[in-house]
Symmetry: C2
Subunit: 321 residues, 2 copies
Protein backbone atom coordinates (compact mmCIF):
# COMPACT_ATOMS: atom_id res chain seq x y z
CA UNK A 1 0.00 0.00 0.00
CA UNK A 2 2.74 2.45 0.96
CA UNK A 3 4.49 1.57 -2.29
CA UNK A 4 1.35 2.08 -4.33
CA UNK A 5 0.98 5.61 -3.02
CA UNK A 6 4.68 6.37 -3.14
CA UNK A 7 4.90 7.29 0.52
CA UNK A 8 6.07 5.60 3.67
CA UNK A 9 3.91 3.29 5.77
CA UNK A 10 3.93 5.88 8.52
CA UNK A 11 2.28 8.39 6.27
CA UNK A 12 -0.41 5.95 5.24
CA UNK A 13 -1.27 5.41 8.88
CA UNK A 14 -1.41 9.13 9.49
CA UNK A 15 -3.82 9.70 6.64
CA UNK A 16 -6.34 7.38 8.24
CA UNK A 17 -5.81 8.08 11.92
CA UNK A 18 -4.59 11.67 12.20
CA UNK A 19 -5.15 13.38 8.85
CA UNK A 20 -4.21 16.75 10.32
CA UNK A 21 -0.57 15.83 10.14
CA UNK A 22 -0.49 15.13 6.44
CA UNK A 23 -0.35 17.64 3.60
CA UNK A 24 -3.58 17.80 1.58
CA UNK A 25 -2.06 16.68 -1.72
CA UNK A 26 -0.20 13.79 -0.11
CA UNK A 27 -3.41 12.81 1.55
CA UNK A 28 -5.25 12.76 -1.73
CA UNK A 29 -2.54 10.66 -3.30
CA UNK A 30 -2.83 8.11 -0.52
CA UNK A 31 -6.61 7.97 -0.64
CA UNK A 32 -6.57 7.52 -4.39
CA UNK A 33 -4.13 4.68 -4.08
CA UNK A 34 -6.28 3.13 -1.36
CA UNK A 35 -9.36 3.21 -3.55
CA UNK A 36 -7.39 1.81 -6.44
CA UNK A 37 -6.23 -1.29 -4.63
CA UNK A 38 -9.05 -1.57 -2.10
CA UNK A 39 -6.97 -0.83 0.92
CA UNK A 40 -8.73 -0.51 4.25
CA UNK A 41 -6.96 -0.02 7.57
CA UNK A 42 -6.62 -3.22 9.53
CA UNK A 43 -8.39 -2.96 12.84
CA UNK A 44 -6.76 -6.13 14.12
CA UNK A 45 -3.27 -4.76 13.69
CA UNK A 46 -4.32 -1.44 15.15
CA UNK A 47 -5.73 -3.20 18.19
CA UNK A 48 -2.60 -5.21 18.68
CA UNK A 49 -0.42 -2.16 18.64
CA UNK A 50 -2.64 0.27 20.47
CA UNK A 51 -4.00 -2.20 23.01
CA UNK A 52 -7.49 -0.91 22.33
CA UNK A 53 -10.04 -2.92 20.39
CA UNK A 54 -12.97 -0.51 20.40
CA UNK A 55 -15.04 -3.57 21.10
CA UNK A 56 -17.16 -4.17 24.15
CA UNK A 57 -18.20 -7.67 25.00
CA UNK A 58 -21.55 -8.75 26.33
CA UNK A 59 -22.28 -12.03 28.00
CA UNK A 60 -26.01 -12.49 27.65
CA UNK A 61 -28.39 -15.43 27.78
CA UNK A 62 -29.83 -16.41 24.42
CA UNK A 63 -33.38 -16.45 25.60
CA UNK A 64 -35.79 -13.93 26.97
CA UNK A 65 -37.45 -10.91 25.51
CA UNK A 66 -35.99 -8.73 28.18
CA UNK A 67 -32.40 -9.60 27.43
CA UNK A 68 -32.94 -9.12 23.77
CA UNK A 69 -34.09 -5.58 24.30
CA UNK A 70 -31.15 -4.91 26.58
CA UNK A 71 -28.85 -6.22 23.93
CA UNK A 72 -30.44 -4.05 21.29
CA UNK A 73 -30.04 -1.02 23.47
CA UNK A 74 -26.38 -1.75 24.13
CA UNK A 75 -25.67 -2.28 20.51
CA UNK A 76 -27.23 1.00 19.51
CA UNK A 77 -25.60 3.08 22.21
CA UNK A 78 -22.19 1.61 21.58
CA UNK A 79 -22.48 2.19 17.87
CA UNK A 80 -23.09 5.86 18.65
CA UNK A 81 -19.74 5.92 20.41
CA UNK A 82 -17.92 4.14 17.62
CA UNK A 83 -17.65 0.92 19.54
CA UNK A 84 -18.78 -2.49 18.44
CA UNK A 85 -20.51 -5.20 20.40
CA UNK A 86 -19.09 -8.68 20.56
CA UNK A 87 -21.74 -11.09 21.61
CA UNK A 88 -21.05 -14.03 23.86
CA UNK A 89 -24.25 -15.83 24.42
CA UNK A 90 -24.95 -18.99 26.29
CA UNK A 91 -27.97 -21.24 26.34
CA UNK A 92 -27.64 -22.60 29.85
CA UNK A 93 -25.51 -21.92 32.89
CA UNK A 94 -23.03 -24.64 31.98
CA UNK A 95 -21.98 -22.75 28.93
CA UNK A 96 -21.22 -19.55 30.76
CA UNK A 97 -17.72 -20.82 31.40
CA UNK A 98 -17.10 -21.28 27.71
CA UNK A 99 -18.22 -17.75 27.08
CA UNK A 100 -16.00 -16.35 29.82
CA UNK A 101 -13.02 -18.29 28.48
CA UNK A 102 -13.52 -16.80 25.07
CA UNK A 103 -13.93 -13.35 26.53
CA UNK A 104 -10.50 -13.32 28.08
CA UNK A 105 -8.74 -14.07 24.83
CA UNK A 106 -10.07 -11.00 23.14
CA UNK A 107 -8.66 -7.90 24.72
CA UNK A 108 -11.94 -6.06 24.99
CA UNK A 109 -12.33 -2.47 26.06
CA UNK A 110 -15.04 -3.53 28.44
CA UNK A 111 -17.32 -6.33 29.35
CA UNK A 112 -20.95 -6.49 30.36
CA UNK A 113 -22.14 -9.46 32.33
CA UNK A 114 -25.87 -9.60 31.90
CA UNK A 115 -27.77 -12.48 33.33
CA UNK A 116 -29.17 -13.27 36.70
CA UNK A 117 -27.85 -16.79 36.60
CA UNK A 118 -24.10 -16.32 36.51
CA UNK A 119 -22.74 -17.80 39.70
CA UNK A 120 -20.80 -15.79 42.25
CA UNK A 121 -17.83 -17.99 41.61
CA UNK A 122 -17.75 -16.97 37.99
CA UNK A 123 -18.31 -13.34 38.87
CA UNK A 124 -15.35 -13.30 41.18
CA UNK A 125 -13.22 -14.80 38.50
CA UNK A 126 -13.87 -11.78 36.29
CA UNK A 127 -12.56 -9.45 38.99
CA UNK A 128 -9.18 -8.96 37.53
CA UNK A 129 -7.02 -6.23 36.19
CA UNK A 130 -7.57 -5.43 32.60
CA UNK A 131 -10.81 -4.53 30.95
CA UNK A 132 -13.53 -2.98 33.01
CA UNK A 133 -16.37 -5.26 33.88
CA UNK A 134 -19.90 -4.26 34.73
CA UNK A 135 -22.64 -6.54 35.97
CA UNK A 136 -26.02 -5.70 34.53
CA UNK A 137 -29.20 -6.26 36.48
CA UNK A 138 -27.64 -8.94 38.53
CA UNK A 139 -27.93 -8.19 42.23
CA UNK A 140 -25.78 -11.22 43.03
CA UNK A 141 -22.82 -9.17 41.95
CA UNK A 142 -23.31 -6.57 44.67
CA UNK A 143 -19.98 -6.02 46.32
CA UNK A 144 -18.20 -8.24 43.85
CA UNK A 145 -18.34 -6.14 40.73
CA UNK A 146 -19.54 -2.70 39.72
CA UNK A 147 -23.23 -3.10 39.15
CA UNK A 148 -25.96 -1.35 37.24
CA UNK A 149 -29.41 -2.47 38.12
CA UNK A 150 -32.97 -1.37 38.32
CA UNK A 151 -34.25 -1.12 41.87
CA UNK A 152 -36.03 -4.45 41.94
CA UNK A 153 -37.17 -4.28 45.52
CA UNK A 154 -38.52 -0.76 45.30
CA UNK A 155 -40.13 -1.76 42.02
CA UNK A 156 -42.38 -4.42 43.43
CA UNK A 157 -43.07 -2.17 46.41
CA UNK A 158 -44.35 0.49 44.06
CA UNK A 159 -46.49 -2.11 42.32
CA UNK A 160 -47.94 -3.18 45.65
CA UNK A 161 -48.77 0.41 46.43
CA UNK A 162 -50.65 0.75 43.16
CA UNK A 163 -52.43 -2.56 43.56
CA UNK A 164 -53.36 -1.86 47.16
CA UNK A 165 -55.16 1.26 46.02
CA UNK A 166 -57.44 -1.00 43.99
CA UNK A 167 -58.33 -2.85 47.15
CA UNK A 168 -56.98 -6.37 47.54
CA UNK A 169 -57.09 -8.75 50.47
CA UNK A 170 -55.08 -11.73 49.26
CA UNK A 171 -52.01 -11.97 47.08
CA UNK A 172 -49.49 -14.32 45.57
CA UNK A 173 -46.08 -13.89 43.94
CA UNK A 174 -45.21 -15.96 40.89
CA UNK A 175 -41.47 -16.06 40.43
CA UNK A 176 -39.46 -17.36 37.51
CA UNK A 177 -36.49 -19.13 39.03
CA UNK A 178 -36.07 -19.00 42.79
CA UNK A 179 -32.26 -18.95 42.58
CA UNK A 180 -32.23 -15.85 40.42
CA UNK A 181 -31.21 -12.87 42.47
CA UNK A 182 -33.60 -10.57 40.63
CA UNK A 183 -36.43 -12.89 41.51
CA UNK A 184 -35.45 -12.80 45.16
CA UNK A 185 -35.25 -9.02 45.30
CA UNK A 186 -38.57 -8.64 43.58
CA UNK A 187 -40.25 -11.09 45.88
CA UNK A 188 -38.76 -9.40 48.90
CA UNK A 189 -40.12 -6.02 47.86
CA UNK A 190 -43.57 -7.47 47.27
CA UNK A 191 -43.66 -9.54 50.46
CA UNK A 192 -42.42 -6.70 52.62
CA UNK A 193 -44.85 -4.12 51.30
CA UNK A 194 -47.75 -6.51 51.37
CA UNK A 195 -46.77 -7.55 54.88
CA UNK A 196 -46.97 -3.92 55.97
CA UNK A 197 -50.58 -4.04 54.84
CA UNK A 198 -51.19 -7.23 56.72
CA UNK A 199 -51.39 -9.32 53.56
CA UNK A 200 -49.54 -12.61 53.24
CA UNK A 201 -47.67 -13.31 50.01
CA UNK A 202 -46.81 -16.92 49.24
CA UNK A 203 -44.10 -17.53 46.65
CA UNK A 204 -44.80 -19.82 43.72
CA UNK A 205 -42.01 -20.78 41.34
CA UNK A 206 -42.87 -21.06 37.68
CA UNK A 207 -39.55 -22.76 36.95
CA UNK A 208 -38.36 -20.52 34.16
CA UNK A 209 -38.65 -16.97 32.93
CA UNK A 210 -40.85 -17.99 30.05
CA UNK A 211 -44.38 -17.68 28.76
CA UNK A 212 -44.91 -21.41 28.91
CA UNK A 213 -43.85 -21.62 32.53
CA UNK A 214 -46.33 -18.90 33.43
CA UNK A 215 -49.08 -20.52 31.45
CA UNK A 216 -48.55 -23.85 33.15
CA UNK A 217 -48.47 -22.39 36.65
CA UNK A 218 -51.65 -20.42 36.03
CA UNK A 219 -53.41 -23.52 34.76
CA UNK A 220 -52.43 -25.47 37.85
CA UNK A 221 -53.41 -22.71 40.23
CA UNK A 222 -56.79 -22.11 38.64
CA UNK A 223 -57.51 -25.82 39.01
CA UNK A 224 -56.83 -25.52 42.73
CA UNK A 225 -59.51 -22.84 42.82
CA UNK A 226 -57.94 -20.80 45.60
CA UNK A 227 -57.24 -17.74 43.55
CA UNK A 228 -55.88 -14.64 45.27
CA UNK A 229 -57.07 -11.13 44.51
CA UNK A 230 -53.80 -10.29 42.85
CA UNK A 231 -51.03 -12.31 41.28
CA UNK A 232 -47.76 -10.44 41.15
CA UNK A 233 -45.57 -12.03 38.54
CA UNK A 234 -41.78 -11.71 38.53
CA UNK A 235 -41.42 -10.84 34.88
CA UNK A 236 -43.63 -9.66 32.04
CA UNK A 237 -42.93 -12.66 29.87
CA UNK A 238 -44.09 -15.02 32.59
CA UNK A 239 -47.03 -12.72 33.29
CA UNK A 240 -48.28 -13.02 29.71
CA UNK A 241 -48.35 -16.75 30.19
CA UNK A 242 -50.13 -16.41 33.51
CA UNK A 243 -52.79 -14.17 32.01
CA UNK A 244 -53.39 -16.49 29.07
CA UNK A 245 -53.39 -19.50 31.36
CA UNK A 246 -55.98 -17.94 33.62
CA UNK A 247 -58.16 -16.77 30.78
CA UNK A 248 -58.03 -20.14 29.06
CA UNK A 249 -59.21 -21.67 32.35
CA UNK A 250 -62.13 -19.29 32.33
CA UNK A 251 -60.75 -16.89 34.91
CA UNK A 252 -61.21 -13.23 34.11
CA UNK A 253 -58.27 -10.83 34.27
CA UNK A 254 -58.79 -8.33 35.81
CA UNK A 255 -62.36 -9.33 36.69
CA UNK A 256 -61.48 -12.19 39.01
CA UNK A 257 -57.76 -11.68 39.51
CA UNK A 258 -55.50 -8.70 39.11
CA UNK A 259 -52.09 -9.35 37.54
CA UNK A 260 -48.88 -7.36 37.56
CA UNK A 261 -45.63 -7.98 35.74
CA UNK A 262 -42.10 -6.63 35.84
CA UNK A 263 -39.74 -5.28 33.15
CA UNK A 264 -41.90 -3.13 30.96
CA UNK A 265 -41.59 -5.02 27.71
CA UNK A 266 -43.16 -3.44 24.64
CA UNK A 267 -45.79 -6.17 24.61
CA UNK A 268 -46.99 -5.10 28.05
CA UNK A 269 -48.74 -2.15 26.52
CA UNK A 270 -50.23 -4.15 23.68
CA UNK A 271 -53.99 -3.95 23.78
CA UNK A 272 -54.37 -7.70 24.14
CA UNK A 273 -52.69 -7.61 27.53
CA UNK A 274 -52.21 -4.02 28.68
CA UNK A 275 -50.30 -5.36 31.64
CA UNK A 276 -49.59 -3.30 34.72
CA UNK A 277 -45.86 -3.57 35.17
CA UNK A 278 -42.71 -1.96 36.48
CA UNK A 279 -41.05 -0.34 33.51
CA UNK A 280 -37.29 -0.53 33.54
CA UNK A 281 -35.63 2.49 31.95
CA UNK A 282 -33.40 0.25 29.88
CA UNK A 283 -31.71 3.05 27.95
CA UNK A 284 -30.79 4.77 31.19
CA UNK A 285 -29.40 1.58 32.65
CA UNK A 286 -27.44 0.89 29.52
CA UNK A 287 -26.05 4.40 29.29
CA UNK A 288 -24.94 4.17 32.86
CA UNK A 289 -23.27 0.82 32.26
CA UNK A 290 -21.46 2.11 29.21
CA UNK A 291 -20.29 5.16 31.10
CA UNK A 292 -18.90 2.97 33.84
CA UNK A 293 -17.06 0.89 31.28
CA UNK A 294 -15.59 3.64 29.20
CA UNK A 295 -15.15 6.65 31.46
CA UNK A 296 -11.45 6.91 31.93
CA UNK A 297 -11.94 9.66 34.49
CA UNK A 298 -13.61 7.77 37.23
CA UNK A 299 -12.12 4.39 38.01
CA UNK A 300 -14.28 3.99 41.12
CA UNK A 301 -16.14 0.76 41.63
CA UNK A 302 -19.35 2.62 42.23
CA UNK A 303 -22.64 0.88 41.59
CA UNK A 304 -25.90 2.29 40.38
CA UNK A 305 -29.38 1.22 41.37
CA UNK A 306 -31.92 3.03 39.26
CA UNK A 307 -35.65 3.27 39.99
CA UNK A 308 -38.28 2.17 37.51
CA UNK A 309 -41.76 3.51 36.95
CA UNK A 310 -45.13 1.85 37.29
CA UNK A 311 -47.17 1.48 34.13
CA UNK A 312 -50.82 1.20 35.08
CA UNK A 313 -52.51 -1.10 32.62
CA UNK A 314 -55.90 -2.72 32.43
CA UNK A 315 -54.84 -5.86 34.30
CA UNK A 316 -55.16 -4.07 37.63
CA UNK A 317 -58.23 -2.00 36.88
CA UNK A 318 -60.99 -3.21 39.19
CA UNK A 319 -63.88 -1.35 37.66
CA UNK A 320 -64.40 -2.59 34.14
CA UNK A 321 -65.55 0.25 31.98
Amino acid sequence: MAAEAGVSQATVTRVFSSPGLVAPDTQQRVRDAANRIGYVPNAIARSLKSQRTDIVGAVVPTQGEYWQSVLTSFSRRLADKGKQLLLFSFADADHVVDALDAVEQYRLDGLVLASSTISQEHLVRMRRPGPRVVAFNQPTATGLLPLVSVDNEAGTSALVEHVAAQGVATAMFVGGVAEASTDQMRYRGAAKSLGDLGIACPYIEAGAFTYDAGYKVASQISEGLELPDVMMVGSDEVAFGVIDGLRTAGVSVPGDVLVTGFDGLPQASWAGYDLTTLVQPIDVLVDEAIAMLLDTEDPGERSQVIPGTVYEGRTTRRIND
Copy 2:
Protein backbone atom coordinates in the same frame (compact mmCIF):
# COMPACT_ATOMS: atom_id res chain seq x y z
CA MET B 1 5.55 -15.49 29.87
CA ALA B 2 8.08 -17.70 28.06
CA ALA B 3 10.64 -16.61 30.61
CA GLU B 4 8.35 -17.38 33.53
CA ALA B 5 7.92 -20.94 32.33
CA GLY B 6 11.52 -21.36 31.29
CA VAL B 7 10.68 -22.30 27.74
CA SER B 8 10.64 -20.54 24.40
CA GLN B 9 7.76 -18.46 23.13
CA ALA B 10 7.15 -21.07 20.46
CA THR B 11 6.51 -23.71 23.07
CA VAL B 12 4.08 -21.52 24.91
CA THR B 13 2.08 -21.11 21.74
CA ARG B 14 2.13 -24.86 21.13
CA VAL B 15 0.78 -25.59 24.59
CA PHE B 16 -2.32 -23.55 23.87
CA SER B 17 -2.90 -24.24 20.21
CA SER B 18 -1.50 -27.70 19.50
CA PRO B 19 -0.84 -29.40 22.84
CA GLY B 20 -0.12 -32.70 21.13
CA LEU B 21 3.29 -31.44 20.15
CA VAL B 22 4.47 -30.70 23.66
CA ALA B 23 5.72 -33.16 26.27
CA PRO B 24 3.32 -33.58 29.20
CA ASP B 25 5.69 -32.29 31.86
CA THR B 26 6.68 -29.25 29.80
CA GLN B 27 3.03 -28.60 29.24
CA GLN B 28 2.32 -28.68 32.93
CA ARG B 29 5.17 -26.30 33.61
CA VAL B 30 3.81 -23.82 31.10
CA ARG B 31 0.25 -24.05 32.40
CA ASP B 32 1.41 -23.55 35.96
CA ALA B 33 3.34 -20.48 34.95
CA ALA B 34 0.31 -19.18 33.06
CA ASN B 35 -1.91 -19.53 36.09
CA ARG B 36 0.71 -17.90 38.24
CA ILE B 37 0.97 -14.72 36.21
CA GLY B 38 -2.51 -14.76 34.71
CA TYR B 39 -1.41 -15.33 31.17
CA VAL B 40 -4.08 -15.87 28.52
CA PRO B 41 -3.39 -16.24 24.81
CA ASN B 42 -4.00 -13.05 22.89
CA ALA B 43 -6.66 -13.55 20.27
CA ILE B 44 -5.82 -10.25 18.60
CA ALA B 45 -2.25 -11.23 17.92
CA ARG B 46 -3.35 -14.67 16.80
CA SER B 47 -5.79 -13.11 14.37
CA LEU B 48 -3.19 -10.79 12.98
CA LYS B 49 -0.80 -13.60 12.31
CA SER B 50 -3.20 -16.28 11.20
CA GLN B 51 -5.50 -14.00 9.21
CA ARG B 52 -8.45 -15.64 10.92
CA THR B 53 -10.48 -13.88 13.56
CA ASP B 54 -12.98 -16.60 14.43
CA ILE B 55 -15.49 -13.81 14.41
CA VAL B 56 -18.49 -13.52 12.17
CA GLY B 57 -20.14 -10.17 11.73
CA ALA B 58 -23.83 -9.55 11.49
CA VAL B 59 -25.42 -6.41 10.18
CA VAL B 60 -28.90 -6.41 11.65
CA PRO B 61 -31.57 -3.80 12.29
CA THR B 62 -32.01 -2.95 15.93
CA GLN B 63 -35.75 -3.38 15.90
CA GLY B 64 -38.11 -6.19 15.27
CA GLU B 65 -38.88 -9.37 17.10
CA TYR B 66 -38.03 -11.41 14.06
CA TRP B 67 -34.52 -10.08 13.70
CA GLN B 68 -33.87 -10.55 17.35
CA SER B 69 -34.68 -14.20 17.13
CA VAL B 70 -32.51 -14.55 14.06
CA LEU B 71 -29.70 -12.91 15.93
CA THR B 72 -30.14 -15.20 18.87
CA SER B 73 -30.05 -18.20 16.63
CA PHE B 74 -26.88 -17.04 14.90
CA SER B 75 -25.19 -16.36 18.15
CA ARG B 76 -25.96 -19.77 19.50
CA ARG B 77 -24.97 -21.69 16.40
CA LEU B 78 -21.75 -19.82 16.02
CA ALA B 79 -20.83 -20.36 19.65
CA ASP B 80 -21.20 -24.08 19.02
CA LYS B 81 -18.56 -23.77 16.34
CA GLY B 82 -16.22 -21.74 18.48
CA LYS B 83 -16.94 -18.54 16.62
CA GLN B 84 -18.08 -15.25 18.07
CA LEU B 85 -20.62 -12.83 16.77
CA LEU B 86 -19.74 -9.20 16.24
CA LEU B 87 -22.87 -7.15 16.09
CA PHE B 88 -23.26 -4.21 13.79
CA SER B 89 -26.67 -2.81 14.26
CA PHE B 90 -28.29 0.20 12.75
CA ALA B 91 -31.43 2.06 13.65
CA ASP B 92 -32.29 3.39 10.21
CA ALA B 93 -31.10 2.90 6.67
CA ASP B 94 -28.79 5.94 6.86
CA HIS B 95 -26.66 4.22 9.42
CA VAL B 96 -26.10 1.12 7.38
CA VAL B 97 -23.14 2.78 5.74
CA ASP B 98 -21.48 3.39 9.08
CA ALA B 99 -21.93 -0.24 9.93
CA LEU B 100 -20.50 -1.41 6.62
CA ASP B 101 -17.51 0.88 7.04
CA ALA B 102 -16.77 -0.58 10.42
CA VAL B 103 -17.20 -4.08 9.07
CA GLU B 104 -14.41 -3.73 6.58
CA GLN B 105 -11.85 -2.74 9.14
CA TYR B 106 -12.25 -5.90 11.11
CA ARG B 107 -11.04 -8.86 9.13
CA LEU B 108 -14.01 -11.04 9.82
CA ASP B 109 -14.29 -14.66 8.85
CA GLY B 110 -17.69 -13.98 7.42
CA LEU B 111 -20.46 -11.48 7.29
CA VAL B 112 -24.20 -11.79 7.42
CA LEU B 113 -26.29 -9.03 5.95
CA ALA B 114 -29.71 -9.35 7.50
CA SER B 115 -32.29 -6.73 6.76
CA SER B 116 -34.72 -6.18 4.00
CA THR B 117 -33.86 -2.53 3.76
CA ILE B 118 -30.23 -2.54 2.70
CA SER B 119 -30.07 -0.96 -0.72
CA GLN B 120 -28.79 -2.76 -3.78
CA GLU B 121 -26.04 -0.20 -4.02
CA HIS B 122 -24.75 -1.15 -0.60
CA LEU B 123 -25.12 -4.81 -1.37
CA VAL B 124 -23.00 -4.55 -4.46
CA ARG B 125 -20.36 -2.77 -2.49
CA MET B 126 -19.96 -5.79 -0.27
CA ARG B 127 -19.24 -7.98 -3.26
CA ARG B 128 -15.54 -8.06 -2.89
CA PRO B 129 -12.78 -10.50 -2.36
CA GLY B 130 -12.07 -11.34 1.23
CA PRO B 131 -14.54 -12.54 3.74
CA ARG B 132 -17.55 -14.42 2.59
CA VAL B 133 -20.78 -12.50 2.65
CA VAL B 134 -24.25 -13.94 2.88
CA ALA B 135 -27.50 -12.06 2.57
CA PHE B 136 -30.14 -13.28 4.95
CA ASN B 137 -33.81 -13.16 4.06
CA GLN B 138 -33.29 -10.35 1.69
CA PRO B 139 -34.60 -11.19 -1.76
CA THR B 140 -33.17 -7.92 -3.09
CA ALA B 141 -29.81 -9.58 -3.02
CA THR B 142 -30.77 -12.26 -5.50
CA GLY B 143 -28.04 -12.44 -8.10
CA LEU B 144 -25.90 -9.96 -6.24
CA LEU B 145 -24.83 -11.99 -3.26
CA PRO B 146 -25.22 -15.54 -2.02
CA LEU B 147 -28.58 -15.60 -0.35
CA VAL B 148 -30.35 -17.63 2.27
CA SER B 149 -34.02 -16.98 2.50
CA VAL B 150 -37.31 -18.53 3.35
CA ASP B 151 -39.56 -19.02 0.35
CA ASN B 152 -41.68 -15.94 0.90
CA GLU B 153 -43.81 -16.32 -2.19
CA ALA B 154 -44.58 -20.00 -1.63
CA GLY B 155 -45.23 -19.14 1.99
CA THR B 156 -48.13 -16.82 1.39
CA SER B 157 -49.38 -19.20 -1.30
CA ALA B 158 -49.54 -21.95 1.29
CA LEU B 159 -51.37 -19.64 3.64
CA VAL B 160 -53.89 -18.81 0.92
CA GLU B 161 -54.44 -22.49 0.35
CA HIS B 162 -55.19 -23.01 4.02
CA VAL B 163 -57.42 -19.97 4.25
CA ALA B 164 -59.30 -20.86 1.09
CA ALA B 165 -60.25 -24.17 2.66
CA GLN B 166 -62.07 -22.18 5.33
CA GLY B 167 -64.10 -20.52 2.63
CA VAL B 168 -63.40 -16.89 1.93
CA ALA B 169 -64.72 -14.59 -0.79
CA THR B 170 -62.80 -11.37 -0.18
CA ALA B 171 -59.27 -10.67 0.98
CA MET B 172 -56.74 -7.98 1.71
CA PHE B 173 -52.98 -7.92 2.21
CA VAL B 174 -51.49 -5.70 4.90
CA GLY B 175 -47.83 -5.11 4.21
CA GLY B 176 -45.22 -3.49 6.42
CA VAL B 177 -43.11 -1.39 4.10
CA ALA B 178 -43.84 -1.55 0.38
CA GLU B 179 -40.18 -1.11 -0.57
CA ALA B 180 -39.07 -4.11 1.42
CA SER B 181 -38.35 -6.98 -0.89
CA THR B 182 -39.77 -9.53 1.51
CA ASP B 183 -43.00 -7.61 1.58
CA GLN B 184 -43.16 -7.66 -2.19
CA MET B 185 -42.53 -11.37 -2.45
CA ARG B 186 -45.10 -12.16 0.17
CA TYR B 187 -47.71 -10.00 -1.46
CA ARG B 188 -46.99 -11.53 -4.82
CA GLY B 189 -47.55 -15.04 -3.49
CA ALA B 190 -50.80 -14.03 -1.88
CA ALA B 191 -52.12 -12.05 -4.83
CA LYS B 192 -51.23 -14.75 -7.32
CA SER B 193 -52.80 -17.60 -5.38
CA LEU B 194 -55.87 -15.61 -4.51
CA GLY B 195 -56.12 -14.54 -8.13
CA ASP B 196 -56.20 -18.18 -9.18
CA LEU B 197 -59.29 -18.51 -7.01
CA GLY B 198 -60.83 -15.45 -8.55
CA ILE B 199 -60.33 -13.35 -5.43
CA ALA B 200 -58.90 -9.84 -5.62
CA CYS B 201 -56.26 -8.84 -3.10
CA PRO B 202 -55.68 -5.14 -2.54
CA TYR B 203 -52.40 -4.12 -0.89
CA ILE B 204 -52.47 -1.88 2.16
CA GLU B 205 -49.24 -0.52 3.59
CA ALA B 206 -48.97 -0.29 7.36
CA GLY B 207 -45.85 1.86 7.08
CA ALA B 208 -43.58 -0.14 9.34
CA PHE B 209 -43.02 -3.69 10.51
CA THR B 210 -44.36 -2.90 13.97
CA TYR B 211 -47.26 -3.66 16.25
CA ASP B 212 -48.29 -0.03 16.34
CA ALA B 213 -48.41 0.26 12.57
CA GLY B 214 -50.67 -2.80 12.41
CA TYR B 215 -52.87 -1.49 15.17
CA LYS B 216 -53.32 1.83 13.45
CA VAL B 217 -54.12 0.33 10.07
CA ALA B 218 -56.68 -2.01 11.59
CA SER B 219 -58.36 0.84 13.39
CA GLN B 220 -58.63 2.83 10.20
CA ILE B 221 -59.91 -0.08 8.16
CA SER B 222 -62.55 -1.06 10.68
CA GLU B 223 -63.82 2.50 10.61
CA GLY B 224 -64.29 2.21 6.86
CA LEU B 225 -66.51 -0.80 7.54
CA GLU B 226 -65.57 -2.67 4.37
CA LEU B 227 -63.90 -5.58 6.07
CA PRO B 228 -62.75 -8.50 3.93
CA ASP B 229 -63.18 -12.11 4.94
CA VAL B 230 -59.48 -12.48 5.52
CA MET B 231 -56.66 -10.08 6.22
CA MET B 232 -53.28 -11.51 5.31
CA VAL B 233 -50.62 -9.60 7.15
CA GLY B 234 -47.00 -9.42 6.01
CA SER B 235 -45.45 -10.16 9.38
CA ASP B 236 -46.51 -11.56 12.73
CA GLU B 237 -45.60 -8.45 14.64
CA VAL B 238 -47.82 -6.31 12.45
CA ALA B 239 -50.49 -9.00 12.63
CA PHE B 240 -50.64 -8.80 16.41
CA GLY B 241 -51.33 -5.11 16.07
CA VAL B 242 -53.97 -5.75 13.44
CA ILE B 243 -55.74 -8.29 15.64
CA ASP B 244 -55.72 -6.01 18.66
CA GLY B 245 -56.79 -3.07 16.54
CA LEU B 246 -59.72 -5.00 15.14
CA ARG B 247 -60.76 -6.39 18.49
CA THR B 248 -60.54 -2.99 20.14
CA ALA B 249 -62.86 -1.69 17.42
CA GLY B 250 -65.31 -4.44 18.26
CA VAL B 251 -64.48 -6.68 15.34
CA SER B 252 -64.20 -10.36 16.16
CA VAL B 253 -61.19 -12.36 15.05
CA PRO B 254 -61.82 -14.92 13.68
CA GLY B 255 -65.58 -14.43 13.97
CA ASP B 256 -65.82 -11.51 11.55
CA VAL B 257 -62.38 -11.54 9.94
CA LEU B 258 -59.75 -14.21 9.57
CA VAL B 259 -56.13 -13.07 10.04
CA THR B 260 -52.85 -14.63 9.01
CA GLY B 261 -49.32 -13.56 9.80
CA PHE B 262 -45.85 -14.43 8.58
CA ASP B 263 -42.63 -15.42 10.40
CA GLY B 264 -43.73 -17.80 13.10
CA LEU B 265 -42.67 -15.82 16.14
CA PRO B 266 -43.03 -17.53 19.50
CA GLN B 267 -45.85 -15.16 20.39
CA ALA B 268 -47.89 -16.44 17.46
CA SER B 269 -48.70 -19.58 19.39
CA TRP B 270 -49.50 -17.72 22.59
CA ALA B 271 -53.06 -18.43 23.63
CA GLY B 272 -54.00 -14.75 23.48
CA TYR B 273 -53.43 -14.70 19.74
CA ASP B 274 -52.88 -18.20 18.42
CA LEU B 275 -52.15 -16.70 15.05
CA THR B 276 -52.14 -18.69 11.85
CA THR B 277 -48.81 -17.95 10.28
CA LEU B 278 -46.02 -19.17 8.06
CA VAL B 279 -43.34 -20.50 10.36
CA GLN B 280 -39.83 -19.83 9.19
CA PRO B 281 -37.41 -22.59 10.14
CA ILE B 282 -34.96 -20.04 11.49
CA ASP B 283 -32.45 -22.55 12.75
CA VAL B 284 -32.34 -24.21 9.36
CA LEU B 285 -31.87 -20.91 7.61
CA VAL B 286 -29.16 -19.91 10.02
CA ASP B 287 -27.34 -23.21 9.76
CA GLU B 288 -27.39 -22.91 6.03
CA ALA B 289 -26.06 -19.37 6.16
CA ILE B 290 -23.27 -20.37 8.50
CA ALA B 291 -22.36 -23.29 6.27
CA MET B 292 -22.13 -20.97 3.29
CA LEU B 293 -19.89 -18.64 5.21
CA LEU B 294 -17.55 -21.15 6.71
CA ASP B 295 -17.46 -24.14 4.40
CA THR B 296 -14.07 -23.98 2.82
CA GLU B 297 -14.96 -26.81 0.48
CA ASP B 298 -17.61 -25.20 -1.59
CA PRO B 299 -16.86 -21.70 -2.74
CA GLY B 300 -19.91 -21.59 -5.02
CA GLU B 301 -22.16 -18.59 -4.90
CA ARG B 302 -25.13 -20.84 -4.54
CA SER B 303 -28.26 -19.52 -2.92
CA GLN B 304 -30.79 -21.30 -0.81
CA VAL B 305 -34.51 -20.70 -0.69
CA ILE B 306 -36.04 -22.79 2.05
CA PRO B 307 -39.74 -23.53 2.47
CA GLY B 308 -41.62 -22.71 5.66
CA THR B 309 -44.56 -24.48 7.21
CA VAL B 310 -48.05 -23.27 7.94
CA TYR B 311 -49.06 -23.11 11.57
CA GLU B 312 -52.82 -23.33 11.80
CA GLY B 313 -53.97 -21.21 14.70
CA ARG B 314 -57.33 -20.04 15.92
CA THR B 315 -57.31 -16.85 13.88
CA THR B 316 -58.39 -18.71 10.78
CA ARG B 317 -60.77 -21.15 12.39
CA ARG B 318 -64.23 -20.38 11.05
CA ILE B 319 -66.22 -22.59 13.34
CA ASN B 320 -65.80 -21.42 16.88
CA ASP B 321 -65.85 -24.37 19.18
